[in-house]
Symmetry: C2
Subunit: 208 residues, 2 copies
């Protein structure tokens, strides 16, 4: 509340705190704590952090095919000959790719939209990588597109838009990740939309 | 749990995440979020952050008198002719100076110890700015030393040590901030009303 009047003993310190506190989720108090921590570190450590950030910003690329972050023109996943090239999983962002990779359950390729359609935030279909997906499906031998967007209003809107755009490809299978009760969740605390959908989309119990 | 196996799509990204996650309280997931945020910013913004950190680290000084952080040899507080030079407030760190300044209840000078005596962490009296305080009291016309350390075991230990060291100055008044601050709380996170009141209601240190 009085942080506005906060007197910094040093302009250099204040500047570093201001820069840090522009990061999402970092308030001025946290920024100050981080900056004072850095002040106690060796100069080389601070320079290593600074150069890691600027080098990354200057040199990192987006994969020409799937728009995932990459050090090369084509990312390691698109470049991996052992991945199933006939399946493309559409995700919102890079974290989602990493989350799905972490499951070790998926061996196809990805397409990173870089966002979802959100009229409230002024993000339309032209602002995200939808056209490149449609082109990609047209040019490559894609048999299945998996829609793996977050089950939010925006995710659903984007799903429907993608479905319409991909409908002309008659042989293409368009699937969506299962929505249901999370593993480990208590049934009684699951919201009714999720629970209702998980009943409608029930699968044969295989008893293994 | 599976973060150990986390596959980063880019070495440059991974390096930036590793550097960030060495900061206190920043895990790899938060670091990734911050790094991806920076990736969406302009190159100049990222370079401004990087250079704010390295410039600060290279150029920031510690005040020759009070050991507070400063851009010059003598900090603005020690250099301010309107401050009461007969009163020195002893604090653990720079955040504490800022917290007390924020109360606008104190107009004397400071002495930043840079830590408190903590045998558990291997910090002895020689590792913090105690000798320079004793010298300072001897050389300058100090009439009162206010002990404003956090009310923790380490803070109390340091208070007693300082009291013994300063006892030979017969005319010196040694006071301690009022214990409106609850035991176990960090000074820098105390609300300013309590903190301001605890400075106004400081009492004679009895050293028992």
């Amino acid at each position: 509340m009085t942080m506005i009047n906060q007197q910094y003993p040093s302009k250099l310190l204040e500047n570093a705190v201001s820069q840090f506190s522009q990061l999402p989720g970092i308030g001025r108090k946290t920024a100050l704590r981080l900056v004072l921590h850095l002040l106690r570190q060796d100069t080389e450590d601070v320079e290593r952090l600074a150069s890691a950030l600027t080098t990354m910003k200057r040199e990192v690329k987006h994969c020409r095919v799937c728009h995932n972050i990459s050090d090369l023109e084509i990312c390691p996943i698109c470049n991996n000959p052992r991945r199933d090239r006939k399946t493309v999983c559409v995700v919102e962002n890079i974290q989602d790719v990493m989350a799905i990779e972490n499951t070790q359950q998926y061996h196809g390729l990805y397409h990173v939209l870089g966002g979802v359609i959100s009229p409230m935030d002024g993000i339309g279909p032209g602002d995200i990588e939808i056209n490149s997906l449609v082109e990609r499906v047209g040019q490559e031998n894609v048999e299945e597109v998996i829609l793996a967007l977050s089950p939010t209003m925006e995710g659903d809107t984007t799903n429907f838009y993608l479905f319409r755009k991909l409908a002309p490809y008659k042989d293409l299978r368009i699937t969506v990740i299962a929505r249901g009760v999370s593993v480990g969740d208590e049934l009684e605390y699951t919201d009714e939309v999720t629970l209702g959908r998980s009943i409608l989309n029930r699968t044969i119990f295989e008893g293994k």
